[in-house]
Amino acid sequence: MSMANIDIDLGKYSLGWSDPEKNVFKPEKGLNEDIIRKMSEIKEEPEWMLEYRLDAYKKFLKKPMPDWVAKEKLGSLDFDDIYYYIKPTEEQADSWDMVPDEIKETYEKLGIPQAERSYLAGVTAQYESEVVYHKNREDLEELGVLFCDMDTAVKEYPELVKEYFGSVIPSGDNKFAALNSAVWSGGSFIYVPKGVHIEDPLQAYFRINAENMGQFERTLILVDEGASVHYIEGCSAPVYTTDALHSAVVEIVVKASGTCRYTTIQNWSNDVFNLVTKRAQAYGNATMEWIDANIGSSLTVKYPSVYLMEPGAHGEVLSVAFANSGQHQDTGAKMVHLAPDTTSLITSKSISKGGGRGAYRGLVRVEEGAETAKSFVRCDALILDDNSRSDTYPYMEIEESTAEIGHEATVSKVGEDQLFYLMSRGLSEEEATSMIVAGFVEEFTKTLPMEYAMEFNKLIEINMIEAGAVG
């Protein structure tokens, strides 16, 4: 893959922004119908979207909290202590001094320029719930590609949005999808017309930058017949925030023979709850790939899924999770085979260290009639010390006799022979372990554009060496 030629000059974002309505909305914590109405009004949304939000809010109130994952952490979540919508404003003071030293040090080690550091730490950027785009992609416009934030899409492409919004993930799918459907703000909208191939990855950065600020972005990607796109979300450097809830919904539809790859590098600071619903539908001979790395957050609950709707559809999930001290990464994948000759592959790599808990939770479901469907699940976990934990919960529900389903998993520590080999060549134990861990996740790193891959490797190294002893 060629290096992305997108200009990452993050310092410029504040320049073009003006906000005539900045004093209209005084944010308050907690959620009620009034906040949703005001939010929809400020966004000048059509009536149907307001109705959609209010209906979702009712579902959110009715849905129980999931009781099968991270009970204690989820139990500590106070929905009344969260800002559900903050209108972007320029008034935020620069408070670089407030950013914790360890985050600053990480930026230093990663060699991130000062302008970008401030942006990542959330102290100079001007947008809160809304998405920042890197530059106007004229080349994309010429191809007929639509790429904008979701709020703009609701206004400018109402027909497309109305048809597909909530069609892959209904608002009542789960408590957090309902919450997102009620209070979503920002996120990306992409439409790739028939037969159009976008060579370079599209990217958008999100961040949370006010205290106790929830972020509920909503992304919808439509890949028309024979088209292809690679979308990259997030960034590998840590994104600083305090006590935030991040609950996104990402819906993707890949029409016949289309291809979509969605790469996420999640590195929220270690107090964020990251509870995300991601689902794609792949039609005849289409390919959908989720590439999902989770390094940050306090708790991540995320199982990207692919519904294989028509014959020949193919789904892939490559999931990497690094659970360090105090972290619980509950990640995995779901593949639902609904048509004959569909195939899927799930590869999960998790690393637990310093008391962290990494879990693979996945589902492969083959419906009756999905003849000769094939699916393979491979889960590997590395545990780096005696305080850490690694769980594997792979669900396989097979209703079709001609389907071939396999699952293999291993859990181990870093091999002493591997360590010995590297150390005998002059590496310290820490360096050797870092190198082995980097090798363990190489399958993931090699899917990334060069600059991301280098940053990711560096990050693994920092994660390995920070927080004391290795091995």
Binding site: S390, S412, K413
Partner: protein, 382 residues
């Protein structure tokens, strides 16, 4: 029996539904939260078995040297004080508090011969079987739920293996009656103890076994292997939870099944390796072959690992017979139908041809094949 359970009140325990993780995939009958139980008065002696039991009473046909039996009502000390991790749900609670009859077995000498127990019942019961193998002793038990079992039966089995003891246990479920057999088995293993369970499940409409094993002592070892064959609307539901608590413990699980007609299989299990349980080695394998369009299989082999110095792996698969194997056999001049039969035989032989299966190998093999023939015949007759 479990102290934790006996201290509870039934009104504090929630009703079970198939939303409950441990009962997922099961279409629960309404009576599971309130078991209807009866009283069996008849007890026919059966040939070849040391003991006959009907869930209410039991009869010893021939003594086994070194083994003593105590009736449930006379048991002073429970075989197991309490389990370490097993959750007490409403079903298990009823088994523990409402057991209808049974016995405790104490093994005081090395016993090399299989001690055979045959169950029979016309009314629903909760039979209790407690086995206590004393220090350095070894024993073999065979428990049969055959055609004399004609009503729902909910066995509660507890095994206590003292230091360096050894137990082989065969549980065979072959009753051809349309009944539910729901078995809860708990085992606690002390230092260097070794438990092997061999399971055959071809009978009953709904045959479920929940097995919880606490590998408490260092160096203890647990093996379980089993075969199941589903026909008609049968469900074979196996749940195996192994908790590695001591150091240097090992466990091995291997279950294989073939599903025909509209039958379904459920395999779930968890390998739990506790903090500090270093040098643990654990493997888990579940393989399923689906023979017919309406058959289904659910497989959920879980792992929870809280320790770094372990070797742990699992594998699971569901699918038809491998095309390459067909090709291999058929290229040697075997017609397709025969090839399938041979391959299914081979699939099961990996389990039942082990030395530890010698005592039942032939019987099980012919049972499995006749089941296969039934399914094939039905398929051919449309």
């Amino acid at each position: 029996m479990d102290k934790k359970a006996r201290s509870k009140d039934i009104s504090d325990i929630a009703d079970l539904t198939s939303r409950n993780e441990d009962w997922k995939y099961v279409s629960l009958q309404s009576d599971i939260n309130n078991l209807e139980l009866g009283n069996n008065t008849e007890l026919e002696p059966t040939e070849g078995y040391h003991l006959d039991a009907n869930g209410t009473s039991y009869n010893i046909n021939s003594e086994v040297d070194g083994v003593t039996f105590t009736d449930l009502v006379d048991i002073e000390n429970p075989v197991i004080e309490e389990s370490i991790k097993r959750p007490i749900d409403k079903f298990l609670f009823q088994q523990i508090t409402r057991a209808t009859g049974g016995f405790r077995v104490d093994v005081n000498k090395d016993v090399t011969e299989y001690c055979k127990v045959n169950f029979q019942s016309k009314q629903s019961t909760i039979p209790y079987i407690g086995v206590n193998v004393n220090k350095n002793k070894s024993a073999k038990f065979f428990i049969n739920f055959g055609d004399l079992v004609q009503s729902n039966i909910y066995p509660l089995i507890e095994l206590n293996l003292d230091t360096n003891s050894n137990l082989e246990l065969i549980i065979q479920v072959t009753s051809s009656y349309e009944i539910n057999l729901i078995n809860s088995l708990y085992a606690k293993l002390e230092k260097d103890a070794s438990l092997s369970i061999h399971m055959v499940s071809t009978g009953c409409t709904f045959s479920r076994s929940r097995i919880d094993v606490d590998l408490f002592g260092n160096g203890s070892n647990f093996n379980i292997d089993g075969v199941y064959f589903g026909e008609n609307k049968q469900t074979h539901d196996n749940r195996v939870f192994v908790n590695h608590l001591g150091q240097n413990t090992t466990s091995n699980m291997q279950t294989k099944g073939v599903l025909g007609d509209e039958s379904t299989s459920i395999f779930t299990g968890t390998i739990h390796i506790a903090e500090g349980a270093s040098k643990t080695e654990s493997h888990q394998e579940n393989r399923n072959i689906l023979l017919s369009e309406q058959a289904s299989a659910q497989s959920v082999p879980n792992m929870e690992i809280l320790c770094d110095d372990v070797i742990c792996g699992h594998g699971s698969s569901v699918g038809p017979i491998d095309e390459n194997l067909y090709h291999y056999v058929m290229s040697r001049g075997v017609i397709k139908e025969k090839a399938e039969k041979l391959l299914i035989k081979g699939f099961f032989n990996e389990v039942i041809n082990k030395d530890s299966w010698n005592i039942i190998n032939e019987e099980v093999s012919s049972q499995l094949i006749s089941k296969y023939d039934n399914v094939l015949e039905r398929a051919n007759n449309g």
